[in-house]
């Protein structure tokens, strides 16, 4: 699977674009791979206050990420697993991943991690409806409940679908802890949301978490790309190459958004997410009308 290999590359590209904007030359694009290899070679240290939940979280996240990756079609090729209703499984897999991250963060007993967990829970509670209703709108538009069929049949972009895409981009930014919601590069525990929950993980565990996060980013990006560039019936490798190119474009756009926007105040974040939810809902209403 392309996603498995290329997911960390997206992070590398985003960081590179940000560095360029800031006038630095930045780390190499493959830096996330080096990081992952480094983490996997290290040993893990566990705090005495943690229980098995803390140790279970990284493998569960990783497994959930792999299953969801198998569900999402990419670049015109069907997904590995496809059945009616797999879009709901996808949402729940992402939810499971988040649940275990939050549970592990609470398990450490650290107040910072508790705060991060509470914020993550709040944000995702608002982002998930936007995501699910957007998926429902897609299902209403195409008449299929399986991601592969659904995304294969998406008509050329209409106004309603554009609303879904905008909602998905907002969800993408939020779920992947990108800048208007969370700053992935911050070094202050108080201001972190996603990163703070992984503070106590080390070694291979942290590597798993990072890898799972980049795969999640790939999945949500692939959904956006699939809607915007429906399958056009070409050869499979053409579709893959087009898809990868589109993903890299998306990464560059995200990099530009990150460089030009400041973080939203914490109070404004739910507002933006509600707006995303409203957009999805309206798209659904207009489609089902």
């Amino acid at each position: 699977m392309t996603g498995l290999l290329l997911a960390p590359l997206v992070n590398g590209v985003i960081n590179r674009v940000k560095a360029r904007f800031a006038g630095r030359s930045g780390p190499p694009v493959v830096q996330p791979y080096y990081d992952l290899i480094k983490f996997l070679r290290k040993g893990a240290v566990y705090s005495g206050t943690t229980t098995w939940i803390f140790k279970a979280s990284p493998p569960v996240s990783m497994a959930a990420a792999l299953i969801s990756l198998a569900l999402v079609p990419f670049g015109g090729t069907a997904s590995l697993i496809a059945f009616t209703g797999d879009c709901i499984v996808l949402a729940y897999m992402l939810g499971l991943m988040r649940f275990f991250t939050i549970a592990a963060a609470l398990d450490t007993g650290s107040s910072f991690e508790g705060m991060g967990a509470s914020r993550e829970a709040l944000f995702s509670a608002l982002a998930e409806p936007a995501f699910l209703i957007g998926i429902a709108a897609l299902a209403g538009e195409t008449g299929f409940f399986s991601l592969s069929l659904m995304l294969g049949k998406v008509p050329t972009v209409s106004f309603e679908l554009l609303m879904v895409v905008v909602a998905f981009v907002i969800v993408y930014l939020c779920e992947n802890a990108r800048i208007p919601f969370d700053d992935p590069a911050t070094h202050l525990e108080l201001t972190m949301v996603h990163e703070v929950m992984a503070l106590d993980h080390g070694g291979p565990d942290f590597g798993f978490i990072q890898y799972a996060a980049s795969i999640k980013q790939w999945i949500l990006g692939a959904l956006i790309v699939d809607i915007l560039m429906p399958y056009n019936g070409g050869r499979w490798y053409v579709g893959i190459i087009e898809g990868v190119a589109a993903m890299l474009m998306l990464a560059i756009i995200i990099g530009i958004i990150e460089s030009t926007m400041a973080r939203l105040r914490l109070l404004r974040v739910p507002q933006l997410l509600v707006a995303a939810g409203a957009l999805s809902t309206i798209a659904l209403l207009l489609i089902m009308r």
Partner: protein
């Protein structure tokens, strides 16, 4: 027409006054274009005049007047509305649902064949009324008034394409005078009470 609905929702969630004014202007221009495009097959001089006068007044004169009021009042954003932005958005979705329902019930002879024309115009009217009720700043209430008028205008264009020119121009003039008077009133409210907060109007000076 979908664009009209999206702009309505944008108005519900915006707290910066200048952005809100810009969106209202955009809505006015959009409505003028809608008049022309919906009657594209039988375009008459009358329609072109109505559309261009509408665009000129709603797209440019109103925003100009409102901007000046903002500048004179010296405030930038809506302060503590009765209903917050997120809740307003949710209510907006509910209003859209109601508008779609009304659109499916209503049937008028000779209504033009544009999808969503009736729901979108009802949605715009609801949005306007809601803004008048739920916001405190006199300026936003004025914006709500314009939006309400936009909705009636859109419905009029959709339902009764054959309204006499005089009536339509009269309506525009009414709205124009309304905004003008409100601009002056806002200036005086601001001058007397040191704020545009309409809730303070009931308190006595002294």
């Amino acid at each position: 027409m979908t664009m009209l609905i999206v702009l309505d929702l944008a108005l519900l969630s915006i707290s910066l006054l200048n952005t809100g004014i810009m969106v209202v202007g955009l809505q006015g221009i959009l409505l003028g274009l809608f008049v022309i495009s919906s009657h594209a097959s039988a375009l008459s001089l009358r329609l072109v005049i109505i559309a261009s006068v509408g665009i000129a007044i709603k797209g440019f004169v109103f925003p100009l007047l409102l901007r000046r009021a903002v500048k004179e009042a010296g405030i930038q954003r809506e302060i503590r509305p009765f209903v917050g932005a997120s809740l307003s958005l949710l209510i907006g979705v509910a209003m859209l649902l109601a508008a779609l329902w009304i659109g499916s019930k209503i049937s008028i002879n000779g209504i033009i064949d544009v999808p969503l024309a009736v729901p979108a115009s009802f949605m715009t009217m609801f949005t306007g009324l809601f803004l008048v009720i739920a916001r405190k700043t006199a300026l936003t209430q004025c914006i709500g008034y314009i939006v309400f008028e936009n909705g009636i205008y859109a419905f009029g264009v959709a339902a009764v394409g054959q309204t006499p020119l005089l009536v339509e121009l009269g309506l525009l003039l009414d709205a124009f005078v309304g905004v003008f008077v409100m601009g002056i009133a806002i200036y005086h409210i601001n001058h007397e009470f040191d704020s545009m907060d309409a809730t303070k109007l009931s308190s006595l000076k002294g």
